[in-house]
């Protein structure tokens, strides 16, 4: 793209706002990270301690060595990746159907997918618990994954449908006229074009699962325990383990951020560049 703006103009119009944006996004997180390296005595002190005299990694050491946190991170990762795969696997075909076909019950079904998501989840967790118990899925990875994936499906279908609607139908129709099968058309034409949308929907499901607490609390137990539940363990009846909590909170955000950095570099950029040129 041609850019006729001067350097100063660019600085004020792009780089400075971008820097402010990063500060907004990071400030509370940074405060948590700083808290996590304070000795316990400095955490709740008046006046506020901005930077500890003796930064310490003791909370991280305790977190990794004396709690189940590392295993919980792994559990969360397995659950989130599986929920993401399952969620996309179910919602991409559904979104394709909604976007490319006019059929009986289309609007009804689409609305139903939305309606079902409007119920406050909190009231559904006890029936859900009973249902999972009868399916024998309590405290198993598939149980939590199924919970996260199904509750993400409606969102995913809707997002994907609107991305797919943005891709001209004429493209795949032309391909099919040229003799490509439906599956070929989907795999070769539609999916690459919809890739940014699919990736961001995938990230959406991943993050939703990564951060989800209520289902994870109800459906998991000793075998599977996600980080959100593990973090909640640091908030007791009479004390909050601030050191452990902030250390855990600091670590929890890292995988998603790194994932995003990776996706950013290797998927979205390349794929859109390819798609746009076609």
């Amino acid at each position: 793209m041609i850019d006729r703006r001067s350097r100063t103009q660019r600085f004020f119009e792009i780089e400075l706002p971008a820097a402010i944006l990063i500060v907004i996004a990071l400030a509370p997180y940074a405060w948590m990270a700083i808290t996590s390296i304070k000795p316990t005595a400095d955490i709740a002190r008046f006046p506020v301690v901005y930077w500890p005299d003796e930064p310490t990694l003791i909370h991280y050491a305790d977190l990794l060595a004396r709690t189940t946190f590392p295993k919980n991170l792994l559990d969360s990762f397995i659950v989130a990746v599986s929920a993401c795969a399952l969620g996309l696997g179910l919602s991409v075909p559904a979104a394709y159907a909604f976007s490319r076909f006019g059929f009986f019950g289309r609007r009804f079904l689409m609305t139903q997918f939305l309606t079902i998501n409007m119920f406050p989840i909190v009231l559904m967790i006890i029936p859900l618990f009973v249902a999972m118990r009868s399916l024998g899925l309590l405290d198993t990875v598939p149980g939590v994954v199924l919970g996260h994936a199904t509750f993400a499906i409606p969102f995913a279908i809707w997002m994907l449908t609107s991305y797919l609607n943005g891709i001209p139908k004429e493209l795949d129709e032309a391909a099919m006229v040229d003799g490509a099968s439906r599956v070929q058309t989907i795999v070769k034409i539609l999916l690459p074009l919809a890739a940014p949308g699919i990736v961001s929907t995938g990230i959406y499901i991943f993050v939703a699962s990564w951060n989800e607490y209520l289902f994870a609390m109800m459906l998991s137990g000793q075998n599977v325990r996600t980080v959100t539940v593990a973090l909640q363990m640091f908030i007791g009846e009479y004390t909050i383990q601030w050191g452990l909590l902030t250390a855990g909170g600091t670590l929890v955000a890292l995988p998603v951020t790194l994932l995003f950095l990776f996706v950013q570099r290797h998927l979205i950029g390349g794929l859109t560049a390819g798609a746009v040129k076609s």
Binding site: F129, M217, Q222, A230, E237, Y238, T239
Partner: protein
């Protein structure tokens, strides 16, 4: 009685093949919550299992989540017929669990337990159900007392208060600059603070007990501490235990009400500058302080009641109970265990013991849990903010309990 024998017979019939596996071991599922997840009951369990071959304890740590998560999980598990054999429970939930017919009466087993007499009769009485039976085995407890700053009191020339009037004077004398006289807890759980002055001042949970002239006056006096005398920090309506403890530690308040569970962190932060006395009493000598309980109970659905009782009674026995309290920072229920107590500085254990005389729990009825979580905080906050009159608050509580 008949029903129970029938139930016992059927459960025994069903249970026999289920509880004993090939090696002849019984597995007892037990739910617990510890404030610090670095603590694990694994050592205690290993000790118990060594002494009781044939019983395996499967301990499950459940997030406390302000009490909400723990009990949501428990009720859901009971409804789904997936409850553990035994679990840590509190008195506030006893009547609800009884209504669900979820609890197993333990009188018979307690009768056959030699160390039951090591737990004081007072404690057993506090844990009795309204129907006179015993469903809970006490595990640990705390009693709320008044923390005060020795140094700030000296500077202001006041002594630790014994009566409400002295309390007000001390609070006013220590409220200056950055410091507020009393760190009041207005968020959920703060009924403890209110109770000391309003229940201590004559209000009761009997029908009409919240709206007697005396009760209304006591509540007006308490609300006035915040609204007129301004001895509470402005953040009081939303403050929880963490804020009152942190504010006191940071030197922003001169008094607050909490219990021995925070004594060690208070001493770490303030050293000799902090001490404790029982909460002040009304002019007529009446007083009230909150008894914070924790027990174990066995569920009616359990197929391993005998083994479960072995475990929970063992946890409440002398050394093992002392060990257990090292994880939780509370007080042992065992008289022998209390005799040489080293977990907290003596002045705080003494203040707890002296407070036992006026320590009580809230009524053991289903409405109490909701009173704690929503009715009290919402109305107290609105009264402190001047959105409703103090008397409206008392009428709302009366309505909640008596319609």
């Amino acid at each position: 009685m008949k029903r129970r024998t029938f139930l016992a017979a059927t459960t025994a019939a069903i249970a026999a093949p289920a509880i004993v596996n090939a090696q002849g071991t019984t597995t007892v599922r037990w739910w617990y919550h510890f404030d610090n997840p670095q603590h694990s009951p694994a050592e205690l369990i290993a000790k118990f299992e060594a002494a009781n071959p044939g019983i395996k304890i499967q301990a499950e740590s459940i997030p406390w989540g302000g009490g909400n998560d723990y009990y949501t999980r428990l009720y859901a598990a009971l409804v789904a017929n997936n409850a553990p054999d035994c679990a840590m429970v509190k008195l506030a939930n006893m009547s609800r669990l009884l209504e669900m017919r979820a609890l197993e009466p333990l009188d018979q087993q307690i009768g056959g337990w030699a160390d039951a007499s090591d737990i004081s009769a007072n404690l057993w009485n506090l844990h009795k159900a309204p129907d006179g039976k015993r469903y809970y085995v006490p595990l640990q407890y705390v009693v709320l007392y008044l923390y005060y700053r020795v140094d700030l009191f000296q500077q202001a020339g006041v002594a630790a208060p014994k009566t409400f009037d002295e309390f007000l004077k001390a609070a006013q004398a220590t409220t200056k600059g950055d410091v507020f006289g009393f760190g009041m807890r207005g968020g959920a759980g703060g009924h403890d603070h209110w109770g000391s002055f309003v229940l201590g001042g004559g209000a009761t949970f009997e029908k009409g007990g919240m709206v007697t002239p005396k009760a209304l006056e006591a509540n007006r006096w308490f609300v006035a501490l915040g609204r007129d005398h301004k001895v509470f920090p402005p953040s009081a309506p939303n403050d929880g235990f963490r804020q009152i403890v942190d504010n006191f530690k940071a030197g922003r308040t001169a008094m607050t009400i909490h219990h021995v569970g925070s004594a060690n962190e208070m001493v770490d932060a303030l050293g000799d500058k902090v001490s404790a006395v029982p909460v002040p009493r009304a002019a007529d000598g009446k007083g009230w302080t909150s008894f914070g309980d924790e027990s174990n109970a066995i569920f009616a659905s359990s197929r391993n009641k005998a083994a479960a009782f072995r475990w929970i009674s063992w946890l409440s026995t002398n050394e093992s109970n002392v060990e257990f309290n090292k994880f939780t920072g509370q007080l042992t229920v065992s008289n022998k265990g209390a005799a040489n107590w080293t977990l907290h500085p003596k002045r705080f254990v003494d203040a707890s013991a002296q407070s036992l005389a006026i320590a009580d729990t809230l009524p053991n009825v289903p409405a109490t849990a909701d009173f704690l979580r929503t009715v009290w905080p919402t109305n107290m906050q609105r009264a402190l903010l001047g959105q409703i009159q103090p008397d409206d608050m008392m009428r709302a509580i009366e309505r909640h309990y008596h319609g």
